[in-house]
Symmetry: C2
Subunit: 252 residues, 2 copies
Amino acid sequence: MRLTLLGSGDAAGIPLYGCDCDLCTAAAADPGLRRTASSALLESGALRLLLDAGQSNLCERFPSGTIDAIFLTHFHVDHLQGLFHLRWGIGESIPVYTPPDPEGCGDLYKNPGILEFVTLRQFETSRLGDLDVTPLPLNHSKPTHGYLFSDSRQRIAYLTDTKGLPSSTSACLADLPLDLVVVDCSFAPGVGSTGHNNLDDVLEIDRLVAPARMMLTHIGHGLDLWLRENPRRLPSHIGVARDGMRVFPHAS
Amino acid sequence: MRLTLLGSGDAAGIPLYGCDCDLCTAAAADPGLRRTASSALLESGALRLLLDAGQSNLCERFPSGTIDAIFLTHFHVDHLQGLFHLRWGIGESIPVYTPPDPEGCGDLYKNPGILEFVTLRQFETSRLGDLDVTPLPLNHSKPTHGYLFSDSRQRIAYLTDTKGLPSSTSACLADLPLDLVVVDCSFAPGVGSTGHNNLDDVLEIDRLVAPARMMLTHIGHGLDLWLRENPRRLPSHIGVARDGMRVFPHAS
């Protein structure tokens, strides 16, 4: 498996529109410092899967035939915005695997175009190519799935958006050797939210699940500032995502 | 008044995702041939108004403080997608004038962020700077407003999305000298649709309203092909929009 993070930000992103702090000023000038909507590309052999679809330029970035399927974590706009344009294409349909959510978002269900929405059930494993994919329930304001991807040798869990983990998910993950967990970490330590982790929550998930490596994603503006001011506060096996970063295999 | 078309396409756009026709192949290679979501920038003195917000890169294109207000024609995603990100900014709120539509789109009403949605009533004129703005009802699958912009010397009507015109709108416009009408022309002659004009419908609107100039926008893939095959079929006062085209004042 190869995992590349396409985006590492929350819905607002970096630069934050209208913000003139040093971080946002630098990111406005240097695309390498930006944080766009959290999403990832998972490749295994010839198989190419998108994890979330919040990048608005999916059509340009992934020409027809270069994506085999999309796994949506949930139906918030920052996790699916690219589908609004992609759906109007022609040719082969693209499976979009989702948690059960009768609301969906906007008119996607009504006008799916080339998208074929397929509802997955939590903990029911599917096989795609050489991969096993298992949806894991998360704690968020809409029905939300994290995903566990396994091949014969390795396991990666992609867990966003969430506040902590349901006990069923943490119990499932704690039983497995995990090579990498990519996890929602939107806020700095002590910052409250009902739908997203702060760094305290993430350290607790790390303690429960004990992965070999962990990458923080869905980084919010306040956390990004905090990380600049506290550059050495993370355990060595925990890294901070950047847009475009190849996070698996680990370049060690 | 100065009017610049930011986009000239329908929801699918050009290139059409997955299409390998000559038109789409050329547009994939040359950004100047693309058609993105129909929308426009209207400037009058220091006033800068967006007409629709379907461009997904509004945050980069219009830094904070460079847009005074947004006029939405309706709540379909291809006319507002850029708002999904823009709303999460900080600083001064941005008025978004809309037709009355209790549904809105996605969670925009629930989470407006810096956007201040203001419902307009048809035929009730508002004053912004030196401009009078009058919402005009259109025929579409959602509540939809065209807009008439007038200063002391000139009048521009922006009419998308629509199939024909309601008699109240055509009667209002027929009574006025119009410098420019920008109008939805999604389909080639004879192609049926309940929500969008084909070229026959547009020629009928032209006959009823008799503007000095008319620009076709919201161009669909089939019409774009038809226009290439029939380059001299339009009256001389009717032009075809392109993305980025300054359409008023007319460079004659």
